[in-house]
Amino acid sequence: MGERRGAGFVTLDSGHCAVPGQELRGLDEQLPTLALVGSPNSGKTTLFNALTGLRAKTGNYPGVTVTRYVGRVAVHDRELTLEDLPGTYSLAAISPDEQVVADVLDLDHPTLATPDALVVTLDATTLRRSLNMLAQVLATGLPVCVVLTFTDELTRRQGSIDVAAFQRAVGVPVLTVTSGRRQELGPLRDRLVDWSTWATPALPPPTEPAEVVSWIESVLSSSGYVLPQIDRRTRRVDAVLLHPVWGTLVFFAAMFVFFQIIFTLASPVQGWLENLFGFLSTQVQDHVGNRFLASFLADGIIGGVGGVVAFLPQIALLFVLISIMEASGYMSRAAFLMDRVMAKAGLEGRAFVALLSSLACAIPGIMATRTLPSMRDRISTMMGAPLMTCSARLPVYVLLVGLLVSPSDRVGPIGAQGVIMFALYVVGALSAMASAWVFSRIGRRSGPLLPFYMEMPPYRMPSARSVGLAVWDACRGFMRKVGKIILATTVVLWVLLNVPVHSNATMAAAGVDVHDQAAVSAYTIDHSAAAAVGRFVEPVFEPLGFDWRINVGILASLSAREVFVATMGQVAAADNPDKPAEGLKHLTVQSGPRAGERLFTPAVLAALLVFFLYALQCASTIGVLRRESGSWKWPAIAFGYMFVVAWTMAFLTGLVVGALT
């Protein structure tokens, strides 16, 4: 155990090998490391948060997209490292998260360091099931301390347990924790630093199924364990919330509120942030002399950073809601009601929340797939989520639908504009489900289906600290990883749209009034690198009826869909680039068989609408896909397949509409 295994590994006297620390800065291999093990819903993470608070650093376990939470616990003058392992029901792992736990507890694992001791959280109200995992953990031979959680709930529900007898029966220290409040944790903290003095069982419990059942029975019996009654409160609430009629109604109402909150509550904050960045941008433009540099800083950098920050209100809000839903126990009820519908798309109930969130924006929606235990389900949902009609598509839809039909057009008694918008939403949702279904079928070949099971915990009060930490963690991760990608894309696109730079003389010679801002930007765009690209890809988009100017708009909107509107406005030299409809109406095709005709015919408009419905026009989405799936492979696949589908559907739509008009 004394070899050097290469850069990054350090061996300590006890034969304990440390882990490469690229992801986890500040991990001090000299401190004792304890790990928290427990099933989901056992209060493990609440305990971790209470013990470590904001000192938790996150990273990833090597080779998998499972987040790693490590924190410091200080007790008097001593410190130790505490790791919050993913929740698991068993060391016989069936998912990557659970495999991480099995690997960390595996003394022979080549890369993952084994902790010095383990803290096992057992929910006192589900002890009969939880003891099974305790037996497996005890079998590893590592020092173990048991923390019995929810003992107050056990008593409230007429259950009971003799903790001293239980401690004798399992042979390891047992402590109880009720609320996880800081003051209460004193005895536990003291116990943690004394991990080397923990009693270990004389004989580890059996792991063979029939034997472990008899062990559990014996332990519970000698501990005087009385099973708690069914939680009255939960049963009463579930009688409504899971009622076939009322429950479904309440559910849809709750989802509507959920969605509205994300859509409307976040908007003012987003608006405020956008104003802030707009202000900064203006300041830069006013005070930086060099026009090129000013524009680069203002539109490229500040615009890019602003674009990233603009997502934070939605992400924060989404994670607040999701954390509350999860911690209170409602999430499993929602998933229970939606499971059958989701199963049709090869997904499971929990995917519903991710898809619903994608109606506001695919970024938080894709991040919400973390609630799905199956990696395959996560990927399938991620591949479908961008097809949900996100709020960034709305400005594009509004513009194009406005060009397509007038506000007074009617389909029966309903306004035609509304009908088309609704149809776009519906088609988006159906396409998302279909896409998820396809990917789950493809994924099926890579392994057996994960058996579906979902614990329905009693309703509990979420801990404010845990919710806060979940939000903080999500936002910070987003800023660090995704932010870079969005910023890079914004800068690149800015360069494409603004280079080469033209001097006033050149522009004047071309007949442009250099004092007319709209004309100047139109000229710049017309002669930019992006325009060259737009012209270059004309053959690809020719069958859809798009000309190079629309192509430039599409290219620009790769950074964010709503940019399409402003870019088209600039292309059309519209007086107000944010309301370019008038300018666009008059654009004519410049060359080719349709020269002189109106560019935006109904067929072209319809094709463009459908193109935007399907195409992955969003660098932020690509960034988040990269982060949540762990590699560039999936974002590349998503981009590729969505482009092909978008092109095909746009083409077909153009044909059909062209034939009808």
Partner: protein
């Protein structure tokens, strides 16, 4: 499927070679060193895995690991043997000098040695078993317990509850109060033979 295994689990004792295997209450119906044990355990004795003595308690069996052996290695096979043996209670034989009240007496002693005894001591009281006969136990409360009606009831009910857990067919516990003038006597632990 065969009948479910008898629930057992080991607990540590003061001596590392002895483990207290907790078994279901009333599994064997006697206490002390059995004069005969079923074959699965016999085999372990013969192989030197287990060493004498084996002591049966109201809700446990004390087993000693053989010299030079370890519980870690032999534990699983001991467990299986014990479970197999407990599945055949008829193949156990009580000690030669066993009498009907032994189990109840042992159970009462265990209760006194456990939390109830600690509770009484902690309150400055004294509790002693006067008589064990016919599924009934007579106790005497002294020290701080005598003269205090509340404590008497508490102690008696706790004692009875704990005793009933170890001896379900208990008919009742009769409590006398020691006259307060008497000096507290030491807790009587040895069985009185009449």
């Amino acid at each position: 499927m065969s009948a479910p295994l008898v629930p057992v689990h080991p607990e540590a004792t003061d001596a590392p070679e002895v483990l207290r295997w907790v078994v279901p209450v009333g599994a064997l119906g006697f206490v002390g060193e059995p004069s005969r044990v079923p074959a699965p355990l016999q085999d372990l004795y013969a192989a030197g895995v287990l060493a004498a003595p084996t002591v049966v308690e109201p809700a446990a069996v004390l087993l000693r690991i053989g010299a030079g052996r370890s519980w870690r290695d032999e534990g699983p096979s001991v467990r299986r043997a014990l479970q197999a043996a407990l599945a055949r209670p008829q193949d156990w034989r009580p000690p030669a000098d066993a009498s009907g009240d032994d189990v109840l007496r042992a159970a009462a002693e265990e209760v006194l040695a456990g939390e109830v005894g600690d509770f009484v001591d902690g309150h400055g009281g004294v509790i002693e078993v006067l008589d064990v006969a016919d599924d009934q136990v007579t106790i005497q409360l002294g020290g701080a317990c005598s003269g205090c009606p509340a404590s008497g009831v508490t102690v008696q009910s706790r004692f009875e509850a704990a005793l009933r857990r170890l001896y379900p067919q208990l008919r009742g516990v009769v409590a006398h109060e020691a006259p307060s003038s008497r000096r507290p006597r030491l807790i009587q632990l040895l069985p009185t033979r009449h």
